[in-house]
């Protein structure tokens, strides 16, 4: 890593911490959500939830929530305002291209999502007796593809939104329907079949199922991994084509 990339990442990370919204919504909120839901559900294994406790059902959902929060609600407004205020344009007059700033932003948010994931797994394990992912490789793959898909969508929002505010609105509009299909309000196990089939093809539905399968010891379904990969590739291409520096 060159010194410019290192300095850029370090200073962007400080700005991320100063902003606080990313930490609160991407890290603290998912953990608190799991604690509340876990406490509500207790140790009861629910037949309707494929025999899982409420906490075990929600561990992958809050992990997906954290990734989506950071990818869709935290990152795009920052990049939108950077474009709006000429930060990217200013940088394009220096020897370091502004694409490095995008890379630094994605890296910081993915790291925070990874920390949130570990935190949620630890809380689940210690407080609610939820087993750590049994198929660790599958779980890592699911996390990686989910992050790739969701951050590619976030970058596309950042590419299209002319201002920070527009990015904020677009991120929220994308986030809530996706969270519905992830099962935040109605877990996938209790969704009607038709709804679950639709959910299979949404990035968050596929992400939650792939994370849940690997948590229970199965390798994720090819369908869910393929859905995430298609979103990742498609939106990366879109973001790359559409991104404007000013």
């Amino acid at each position: 890593m060159s010194s410019a990339t290192a300095t850029l990442t370090r200073i962007e990370a400080r700005l991320f911490l100063r902003e606080r919204a990313g930490l609160i919504w991407g890290l603290a909120f998912p953990a608190i959500l799991l604690i509340i839901l876990g406490a509500l559900g207790g140790k009861k294994h629910d037949k309707d939830l494929d025999g899982l406790t409420l906490a075990a059902t929600y561990v992958p959902i809050v992990i997906a929530f954290s990734i989506a929060m950071l990818a869709l609600n935290a990152m795009p407004p920052v990049l939108g305002s950077y474009r709006e205020r000429g930060v990217l344009r200013r940088m394009s007059t220096t020897p370091v291209p502004p694409s490095r700033l995008l890379a630094a932003q994605v890296a910081i948010n993915v790291v925070v999502a990874a920390i949130a994931t570990v935190l949620v797994l630890i809380i689940g394990r210690i407080a609610f007796d939820v087993a750590l992912p049994r198929q660790a490789g599958g779980f890592l793959l699911a996390f990686g593809l989910a992050a790739a898909g969701l951050f590619a969508i976030g970058l596309t929002i950042a590419a299209l939104a002319p201002t920070g505010k527009a990015a904020n609105a677009a991120g929220a509009i994308t986030f809530f329907p996706m969270m519905f299909f992830a099962g935040l309000w109605v877990p996938r196990a209790v969704m009607p079949d038709a709804l679950r089939h639709v959910s299979d093809f949404t990035p968050m539905g596929a992400a939650v199922q792939a994370l849940q399968d690997s948590a229970r010891g199965h390798f994720p379904h090819a369908l869910h991994l393929a859905v995430l990969a298609v979103y990742a590739v498609g939106f990366t291409v879109a973001a790359t084509r559409l991104f404007r520096w000013e």
Binding site: S3, A4, A6, T7, L8, I11, R14, L15, R18, E19, S81, Y82, R85, G86, V87, R89, R90, S92, T93, T94, P95, V96
Partner: protein, 300 residues
């Protein structure tokens, strides 16, 4: 050899020529002004110089390099302060300087630069909390932190109060003394008169004049105006007979004489011979402002 050579530059935006025909050259170590009314094509011209825009015609060489083809090399050598380009609100002064210094192969000592630009008391202040003058000084520091050979400064003092503007001018003169060639885009005549060795006046995408500010003023050869209150009755004929006088008008008691050449000497001596004193005599000389209006047909 000139540091910057622009020949017949042309740049079109959506069927409209923002820059039609711009040529000028900038010599090493000079402060070169680009003057013009809003929308004249000043910013587009410097954006082409900086390699941010692709010209539709003409040729540009900066330090012998082509801004499009050799942009990687050139970005190490040219520092730019752009209009309306900002930093994140939450970044601190020191962080911004350290960050921009890390972008260059051979950066200046950013701490020394910060102190030289009077920002040492603002090291941990956030960009969003700085005053307009402090933001501008930080922006100049960022343009210089890469140790550039050429600095391009666009609308440097717009929005600053007169005291901050004066301070900024002193800074720019200090930068020139480091041997940096400076291209200054401005629409302030006073700024150009104060700082620039030479200026190019751009109007509707064309260069209408290049020269020293004083040279432009004499080239326009605009008229001088005298205003005074005669101590006794004065016949206009006395003045209009003088070859230097072009017109005499009156505003109540006040006489306004316009003329060319040594109109002041001619008028005062003819008045002295007639025994008339020119009370409250004021002479209005042509300024770069007048020259600019004469060249472009509009006020800034």
């Amino acid at each position: 050899m000139p540091v910057i050579e622009v020949t017949n530059l042309r740049k079109n935006y959506g069927g409209h020529d923002a820059v039609r025909d711009v040529s000028f050259s900038v010599e090493p170590g000079e402060i070169f002004g680009i003057l013009g009314p809003n929308g004249a094509g000043k910013t587009t011209t410097v954006e082409c110089l900086a390699g941010l825009r692709h010209p539709d015609g003409g040729r540009i060489r900066v330090l012998g390099l082509d801004p499009q083809r050799d942009h990687e090399q050139l970005r190490q050598l040219v520092g730019i302060q752009l209009q309306e380009s900002q930093l994140p609100d939450n970044i601190q002064v020191d962080e911004a300087l350290e960050l921009y210094a890390s972008f260059y192969q051979d950066p200046a000592d950013w701490r020394a630069l910060r102190d030289a630009l009077g920002l040492s008391s603002k090291r941990t202040a956030r960009f969003g909390k700085l005053s307009g003058g402090q933001k501008q000084r930080l922006s100049i520091a960022l343009a210089l932190v890469g140790n550039p050979k050429v600095a391009i400064l666009d609308e440097l003092t717009t929005g600053l109060d007169p005291a901050a503007r004066r301070e900024t001018w002193d800074l720019i003169e200090g930068v020139r003394e480091r041997g940096v060639t400076i291209v200054l885009v401005t629409h302030f005549m006073q700024e150009a008169e104060h700082l620039c060795e030479r200026v190019a006046v751009i109007d509707t995408g064309r260069v209408v004049a290049v020269g020293s500010p004083a040279g432009l003023v004499t080239r326009v050869d605009a008229e001088q105006r005298l205003r005074f209150y005669p101590s006794a009755d004065l016949h206009d004929r006395l003045l209009t007979d003088l070859p230097q006088v072009t017109a005499v008008t009156r505003h109540g008691q006040q006489v306004l004489v316009t003329g060319t050449g040594d109109v002041l000497g001619a008028v005062t001596s003819v008045l002295a011979r007639a025994g008339i004193v020119a009370e409250q005599l004021r002479v209005e000389q042509t300024s770069l402002d007048d020259a600019f209006i004469a060249l472009t047909g509009q006020e800034i």
